[in-house]
């Protein structure tokens, strides 16, 4: 290997080492308000293997950095990635985020996040059969990005939902999408007043995880505590501009008990990335 290539390789190693040194701290414990734990969650996250970049263990670490107490790993019509969840130290009380296994049921009519399930639900089932199959496993059903392009579900489906995404990064690109999501949320509340508002990042491989988030008012810091809170509609969804969707009494509780948003990468961490990228470019183009 030539001298220039050795220097490039050293830059990559130095960058990754510096990046590890500059890594963020641990997850702050959830605040308490009104007798509940206030958890920050991201309920629609894709993982590797699938169309996400990160393994569930890496997602859990990133959730800690971003101040998320709960993430829901939901790949399209498969639960393979959720099998890796068992090796994740997960729980909440010990400072680790809760990682909930799920599936994004991807059907021609709609996408649903079925949170809290282990076995794949067949996307060819009818709406009623699908809801029964999820509940039989103790899961909850969340309508995913319910805009016209990906949602042709009936009012009966809206009535069967435990939660519905009302905050999603797709609204960044088009104002019309914001109006569509608002209209679908209003319709869902009309036919299903207790439906939980959900904010999700639909994270694949573009940061940040938790770009949109859900505040969950849970009686316990556990998978069951989170799922029960969704069933009871005790959530607030936060949009990118800070707008909150959900019950006014919960908004009042959040005022003095808002979970920290975690840490964004420090200047050292960004410098470490630049070192690594320059090193890799050098390895490709320098003799």
């Amino acid at each position: 290997m030539t001298r220039l290539r050795l220097i490039s390789a050293a830059l990559v190693v130095a960058g990754v080492t510096l990046g590890s040194w500059a890594d963020a701290g641990d997850l702050a414990p959830p605040p308490r308000a009104g007798g509940y734990y206030v958890l920050a969650g991201d309920f629609h996250v894709h993982a590797f293997p699938g169309d996400g970049a990160l393994l569930p263990s890496q997602l859990a670490r990133e959730a800690s950095r971003r101040g998320l107490h709960v993430i829901v790993v939901s790949n399209h019509n498969q639960t393979l990635a959720t099998r890796f969840i068992d090796v994740v130290r997960s729980g909440g009380e010990d400072g680790e985020p809760i990682v909930i296994p799920a599936q994004e049921i991807t059907s021609p009519l709609f996408h649903l996040v079925a949170a809290g399930i282990r076995r794949t639900v067949d996307w060819r089932l009818s709406e009623e059969e699908m809801a029964r199959a999820v509940r039989a496993q103790g899961g909850v059903i969340i309508g995913a990005h319910p805009v016209e392009k990906s949602w042709r579900g009936s009012d009966a489906m809206l009535a069967a939902l435990d939660g519905i995404e009302v905050a999603h990064p797709m609204t960044d690109a088009r104002d019309a999408t914001r109006a569509e999501l608002d209209a679908r949320y209003a319709r869902a509340r009309a036919v299903n007043p207790g439906v939980a508002p959900i904010g999700s990042s639909d994270f694949h491989m573009v940061a940040p995880l938790g770009a949109r988030r859900t505040f969950v008012f849970a009686e316990s810091v556990s998978v069951d505590g989170v799922l029960d809170a969704i069933r009871a509609g005790r959530t607030l969804a936060e949009n990118g501009d800070g707008t909150l969707y959900g019950r006014d009494d919960l908004k009042a509780l959040l005022v003095n008990a808002r979970p920290s948003r975690g840490e964004t990468p420090s200047p050292f961490a960004r410098f470490a990335v630049v070192m690594s990228l320059v090193g890799l470019l050098g390895l490709a183009v320098l003799r």
Binding site: V12, G15, V16, T17, G19, S20, A22, D23, A24, F48, P49, G50, D51, A53, L54, L55, S57, Q58, R61, E62, R65, N75, H76, N77, Q78, T106, S107, P108, L109, W123, S150, R152, P169, D172, A173, F203, M205, V206, A207, P208, L209, A211, T264, P265, A269, R270, A272, V273, S276, L277, L280, L281, L283, A284, V285, L286, R287
Partner: protein
């Protein structure tokens, strides 16, 4: 300027000149794995750490392994080549610069611009697609000694097999059938 960059810029002249290379396959697998690991970590978290890069590199190491396999298939299809099989595979793998550069640029675009630049980053992939076609064709002509239509068919077959692997992974990851049915309904 590296031989890899020369191949990207002037593929036929470079392949005509290059007789061989030092053992390149292990370097290629390691380099591309780490490249994917760093770029995925950068785009997905905005950081690079030993744990992130190591686990991402291992997770996605099947990508360079598939490249080596498709390169070996192409080389095996041409017994009249002017170098040994392993040298020929190495020479083809040295044509990685267009895709490697795209990965660095695309991850930087998505890491700094988020979803606002996601579509543009994907569209930019047209550049390495075209450049790689040119590189593979030059390799087939200069190293595998194929001519005319035979060279074109070999080039297209290699790219078709490579993209078929990609399409299979994408289908398993995003489930194309229900989406297609939804779009048609």
């Amino acid at each position: 300027m590296s031989d890899e960059l020369r191949i990207a810029l002037r593929p036929r002249a470079s392949y005509a000149r290059l007789e061989g290379s030092p053992p390149y396959i292990p370097f290629y697998i390691l380099f591309v794995s780490v490249l994917i690991g760093v770029c995925a970590a950068w785009s997905a978290t905005g950081r690079v750490t030993v744990g992130l890069v190591a686990s991402l590199s291992l997770s996605w190491a099947f990508v360079p392994l598939l490249h080596v396999s498709t390169a070996a298939l192409l080389v095996a299809s041409a017994p009249a080549r002017r170098v040994s099989a392993s040298r020929a595979v190495s020479l083809l793998l040295m044509g990685h610069v267009p895709w490697s550069t795209w990965l660095l640029v695309a991850s930087t675009m998505t890491a700094t611009g988020g979803y606002a630049l996601y579509r543009e980053a994907l569209l930019l992939a047209i550049v390495p697609m075209v450049l790689t076609l040119r590189i593979v064709h030059a390799f087939v002509v200069e190293v595998l000694q194929a001519e005319g239509r035979g060279a074109i068919w070999r080039t297209l077959a290699h790219q078709a097999v490579t993209w078929a692997f990609a399409a299979i992974y994408i289908d398993r990851a995003v489930r194309l059938l229900p989406r297609l049915l939804g779009a048609l309904s």
